[in-house]
Amino acid sequence: MKEHIITRRDFLKSAAAASLGLSLGLPTYLQSDKLYKSKVVLIRHPDVIDARGKINQKIIQQMIDEAVTTFIGTDNPREAWKKFIKPTDIVGIKSNVWSYLPTPKEIENVLIMRIQEAGVPQKNIDIDDRGVLSNKIFLNSTALINVRPLRTHHWSGIGGCIKNYVMFTPRPADYHPDSCADLGALWKLPIVKDKTRLNFLLLLTPQFHHLGAHHFDSKYTWQYKGILVGTDPVALDAVGLRLFELKRREYFKEESPIRPSAKHVALADTRHKIGTSNLKEIDLVKLGWREGILLD
């Protein structure tokens, strides 16, 4: 059978037809045709970060609670978490320690508290990033919570929920070819397969542009003051990618596709079948602050 090669011209054919294809850099025929919608909750609060950039612990807890309860359809945060976590679970919270934009401690505090309230003893909960493969909690985990900030990435287009699991392989380089096209395959590794109960893609101060290999410049972050919550990591990343597309258009005053294309998001759907990347198939529930939301 002749190998199918995706060229730039496939992208050009579909670019005019679908805005999603534009954002993902992939032709529409590669996108999913699922019949159900993935639910994603976006919550924002104008005061979650103060003038000095410090996160308000009380407000961030309220945001997480409201998002999780809305996602599952209940009023009580403790009851909501019990839908995701059992007292017998061993829970690994996969964070991100990139020094310029790490998972904030204030969010980790809330997650630990709610998981403990779901009945999991503290000894069966841990947070880690680069050490997950030598962490006994992660090696024996029955449940994972995935939490990290969204940013552009020099090799994979964006660093989001899908890419956050690259530390679960001893050979990250195996996933680097073709701009990290197959990061979705990480989610089928035995150490993570079917264990992820919730994903939190943090949009508090996302980084929408970068220059150079691992460059950070606060000029290319903004206080969006939001969090995306859901069980589908691909859907969260697809919404995050759309947000970046809109932010870059606003900032650069022209279409400015992310380079390289974050094609791994669409391929996590179409090739690896771990979630939904088509925005038309994602039920985005918006809560809280609306000013500057972009995702209208």
Binding site: E3, I5, L12, A15, D178, A213
Partner: protein, 305 residues
């Protein structure tokens, strides 16, 4: 058996000695002190694939340019203002030049090393087989001044200059270099590379290596500053490989080309490919057929000169 073991041991020792020698020569490039900033902690050394331990996925880019090793030293002043000095040994001046062009975004000439640029928080330059990055957070005039002083000192410590890859001589700054406005997303400049992964980072062509790029195929991608079209020039080791790649591109990327080598693509622009001995030239996104033909003629004339 003993002879084989002796040979292997000798080779191992020679490799280790070579590594130590390389590392030692790099250590000497690090300044002892710059305007009050002094080394803090041990130097870190990463060789080959170990670069992933240092910069995760971004390490792939350096490996695409046949990266050899990197030495990293943190400098501190008053226990809080940090400058990070990274010296990458890229193995050859072509590779050092290549990684510099890959990361280059502003096109400014700073007079440090053989090419340098500064963006807030990062001064980078190349000289000989080295690519150097000087990083810091929260820019202040003092930090910026110290970073530039450090750059000059490191550049001076590298005694020799290296040659740029030969293929670059066909490209002039006047035609291609765009000085990006401060808030532009456009990455200007001329890119040198030899892997399709790098090509795709700057101009996505295909998800497979349809042009057979590898360590033996020096390549340049550049964007014309007038009509914003792109030129890709690849030099192959021999005419046969060039012909094979030319045909493969026609089949895969321009399957609708009938008795022609220039096609109007879905965005209304024109893309064409030309074979010239060991060279393949591709023009992407030109405004019309004469424009593609003129660009072919110009670059081929230079190749023949």
């Amino acid at each position: 058996m003993i002879i084989i073991q002796t040979i292997l041991l000798t080779l191992f020792m020679m490799t280790n000695q070579s590594n130590d020698s390389t590392k030692h020569s790099m250590v000497k490039l690090f300044p002892a002190e710059i305007q009050g900033w002094k080394p803090d902690g041990e130097m870190k050394y990463f060789k080959g694939d170990a670069i992933y331990d240092y910069i995760n996925g971004a390490g792939e880019i350096y490996l695409c340019y046949n990266f050899n090793s990197v030495l990293v030293q943190r400098y501190l002043k008053k226990k809080k203002q940090e400058i990070l000095l990274e010296i990458f040994d890229m193995g050859s001046s072509s590779n050092a030049f290549g990684i510099f062009t890959h990361t280059q975004s502003q096109g400014e000439e700073l007079g440090i090393g053989q090419g340098a640029e500064y963006i807030p928080g990062l001064l980078s330059f190349w000289k000989d087989r080295y690519f150097i990055c000087i990083r810091f957070e929260n820019e202040t005039p003092q930090l910026r001044k110290a970073a530039f002083a450090m750059g000059h000192k490191v550049a001076k410590a590298i005694a020799s200059e290296g040659e740029k890859p030969e293929i670059i001589k066909y490209f002039t700054d006047q035609e291609f270099v765009q000085k990006s406005p401060p808030d532009s997303a456009v990455w200007g400049s001329i890119r040198y590379f030899f892997r399709y992964e790098i090509l795709n980072q700057h101009f996505y062509v295909a998800d497979k290596n349809i042009l057979n790029l590898n360590d033996q195929t020096p390549s340049v991608l550049a964007q014309y500053s007038d009509d914003k079209s792109y030129i890709l020039l690849v030099k192959y080791p021999n005419n046969e490989l060039a012909m094979q790649s030319y045909k493969n591109f026609l089949t895969t990327y321009l399957p609708d080309a009938k008795n022609t080598n220039i096609v109007q693509t879905e965005n209304g622009k024109w893309t064409g490919i030309q074979l010239e001995g060991r060279y393949v030239v591709i023009i992407f996104d030109a405004n019309d057929i004469p424009s593609v033909e003129n660009k072919f003629a110009t670059i081929i004339r230079r190749i023949k000169e």
